[in-house]
Amino acid sequence: MSTARVLTRSWRTPITLTVLGAVALVVFGLLAPPGEHSTFGVSTGGDLVQFEPLALPSRLVGILLGIACLALAGWSFTLVARGRRVPIWLSITFGVAFVLAFLTWSVAGAQISLPALLQGALALSVPLIFGALCGLVCERSGVINIAIEGQLLGGAFLSGVVASLTTSVWAGLVAAPLAGLLVAYLLAVFTVRYYVNQIIVGVVLNVLVIGLTSFMFGRLLSPNPETWNSPGRFLSMKIPILGDIPVIGPVLFDQTVIVYIMYVTVAVLYVALFRSRWGLRVRAVGEHPEAADTAGIQVNAVRFRNVLIGGAVAGLGGAYFTLGLSGLFSREMTAGQGFIALAAMILGRWNPIGAVFAALLFGFVNNLQSVLGIIGTPIPSEFMLMAPYVVTIIAVAGLVGRVRPPAASGQPYIKT
């Protein structure tokens, strides 16, 4: 009985890969119109070494990539047949090949710039990554944080206002986590100390922040933008050497300081959660608070602290909206991204690295739909706007498999 269940579960990935691989080979390869070329720009204006745009024969490349996809799928079959699991790198390689096949097919007869495509993808992902990190820090300790949206918005607002008043973007950057912290403090007090339902408190906090910032925007920021809403922006700083790598150099290493802080935060959180005593305690509290308590860990103190840390991370992410991108605050500018961040956290299996990839996937598909829409696709824009969500569903259902939240997530710990 148990072996049968293991078998059915592990065949899922090879089957999904085979179906997708067949789609790639047939639709993006064999059925593609012959004679067309897909042109990809590789260099940006500031690169040291300039490369010519790559003009690839669309149909041939599509067929080759489709075959590569099927080969990977076949390999996964043999691995599963031998009783081994499909390694994650295989799924990722498959994903890259599949996306490249799709790109080659959809760009046939046109040109896009790869660095610009990826840069936009990262730009759309950054707030999601901060939000997802916030969510997992809270949830790993057992507190569901629905208020990510409010924490992002609060961070965006306060960083904008403080940077405007002090005429220093750095002051704004320091203020941003404070706003997130403030919202998180309310969340922690109500959920950890007074055991109020975590979902309800989170929702109410979102409403509070949206109402408050919109009100202040209408009363202060909008009538006097020179004083209240002209925070300015961080300029992007190119990291020497790394920034000169073709394609990924300008994408990853020619960014604002907020993005560099994000890289550091991801690394620190990953190490802290899985390689430190603090992380072990946090995970224990999130999985089995009674056991943790018995071992002498103060469950609610850990939770309180984690919610505050999470809030600060999300608040910092809020600064990206104002100081990283637009250079001004506008009403409800987070537009529900705190909720997408929650989805990214789940898709990333409550793991910082996983959450980063999930958020990047979402950002990539979101930017791809815009770029492809501009060069002209036969797919209606309403459907293209759905693409990020559809891809997320396919990724969760087909590739990630069953995800399991921390066992005590959402349950208040009341010492008996």
Binding site: S113, A116, G120, A123, L124, P127, I146, E149, I199, V203, V204, N206, V207, L208, I210, G211, S214, F215, F217, G218, S222, P223, P225, S230, F321, L325, S326, G327, L328, S330, R331, E332, M333, A335, G336, Q337, F339, L342, A343, N366, N367, S370, V371, G373, I374, I375, G376, P380, S381, E382, L385
Partner: protein, 360 residues
């Protein structure tokens, strides 16, 4: 998650209604010093669409119309205002306005059409004016204020095609709805007309009139995606952008400033005045005379002459128009400017017809 979010938004809307109600009575100012006190005994109210009254766009324009009516002394000071943060705010906002003693309730936007109809039918004694929507069957107590913006957008498209150096112009919208796409249709046709007359090949990216499809953010608040779309259009070669998305239009200006060689065409109001921080980027604006239409509707209602006859703004009645070129006056050739003037007259005289599925 979505349902939770809606619930959240609904609660937020209630909170905002509460603040709006709290602000309305401002009795100290009632003994105003404008000498026309007998005229000013008429209460006008307004419910906005998403985006808020300070959107530098259509909500703001409608609100300015009421403010102008106040300045002219025809309606009471401090007209009541209920701002909507999401569609779930429309009903509570309208209800609170109906409960107040409003002589005229102005609802701003296509999105409020159903809610306005419902409240108008339930409250036949109230008088309504709705911006940007016309009902198939007219309602006795609702005056539609609509605008054939494609006529002015046509001129803007012609100007853009004449200005562009890259041979590509771009446009994007908040959502694929008629009041947005009417701008994009006109813009598209203007560019095509230029291509025909001049035998040029200026390309429009972000909208295809035949397909009725293009670049949309999906809402009117997602600044991140709006900025990204603007950058993508500039990367695709566009050096003139027409953002049709209320408050999100700023993001196109930000992208244009980053690029350094691009300009923006504003919509709804004269962007040179409404968004002075970007005035150096404003090639021109496609103006929609919402404020004049709202002011006139309020004045008529205050004088007891309310009618449900639709007001259709056109180039002919100056209900829509093109703003001055301001900083770009010298960069556009005299030839182009006089051609635009000629086209304007041709459209007014009916010699040239501009079509849009979204026209009124």
């Amino acid at each position: 998650m979505k349902r939770r979010f809606r619930f959240a938004a609904a609660l937020g809307g209630l909170a905002l209604v509460a603040t709006a109600c709290g602000e309305a009575p401002d009795e100290e100012n009632d003994t105003a010093t404008n000498g026309e006190e007998e005229g000013a005994d008429f209460e006008a109210c307004m419910v906005t669409d998403e985006g808020g009254v300070d959107d530098k766009s259509f909500n703001e324009s409608a609100w300015n119309g009421l403010q102008n009516a106040v300045d002219a002394g025809v309606i009471n000071e401090d007209p009541s205002l209920a701002e909507s943060n999401s569609p779930s705010d429309f009903e509570p906002n309208l209800r609170s306005m109906v409960d107040q003693d409003c002589g005229l309730i102005v609802t701003v936007g296509f999105a409020l059409a159903d809610a306005t109809q419902q409240f108008a039918e339930d409250n036949p004694d109230e008088q309504f004016a709705i911006v940007d929507f016309i009902y198939e069957e007219e309602i006795d107590n609702v005056k539609p204020l609509v605008f054939n913006t494609h006529e002015a957008a046509f001129l803007a498209g012609y100007v853009a095609a004449g200005y562009t150096e890259t041979g590509t112009v771009g446009t994007w919208g908040g959502a694929n709805i008629p009041t947005v796409t009417i701008f994009m249709d006109g813009f598209w046709d203007g560019v095509q007309h230029y291509n025909e007359v001049k035998d040029e090949d200026v390309e429009v990216v972000g909208w295809d009139k035949e397909e009725q499809d293009g670049q949309f953010v999906g809402d009117f608040s997602d600044t991140t995606l709006a900025l990204q779309i603007s950058e993508n259009l500039i990367d695709a070669g566009a050096d003139v952008l027409l953002p049709v998305a209320g408050p999100l239009g700023e993001q196109a200006a930000i992208a244009a400033r980053d690029d350094g060689d691009s300009v923006v065409i504003w919509v709804d109001v004269d962007g040179y005045e409404a968004a002075p921080e970007y005035s150096d980027l404003m090639l021109t604006s496609v103006e929609k005379g919402i404020s004049v239409a709202v002011e006139e509707a309020a004045s008529a209602a205050a004088a007891g002459e309310f009618s449900n006859e639709p007001f259709v703004g056109t180039l002919e009645n100056d209900g829509v128009g093109l703003s001055p070129y301001y900083d770009y006056e010298d960069e556009l050739s005299d030839e182009l400017k006089s051609e635009v003037e000629e086209l304007r007259e041709q459209i007014i005289s009916g010699e040239l017809t501009v079509e849009s599925d979204a026209a009124f």
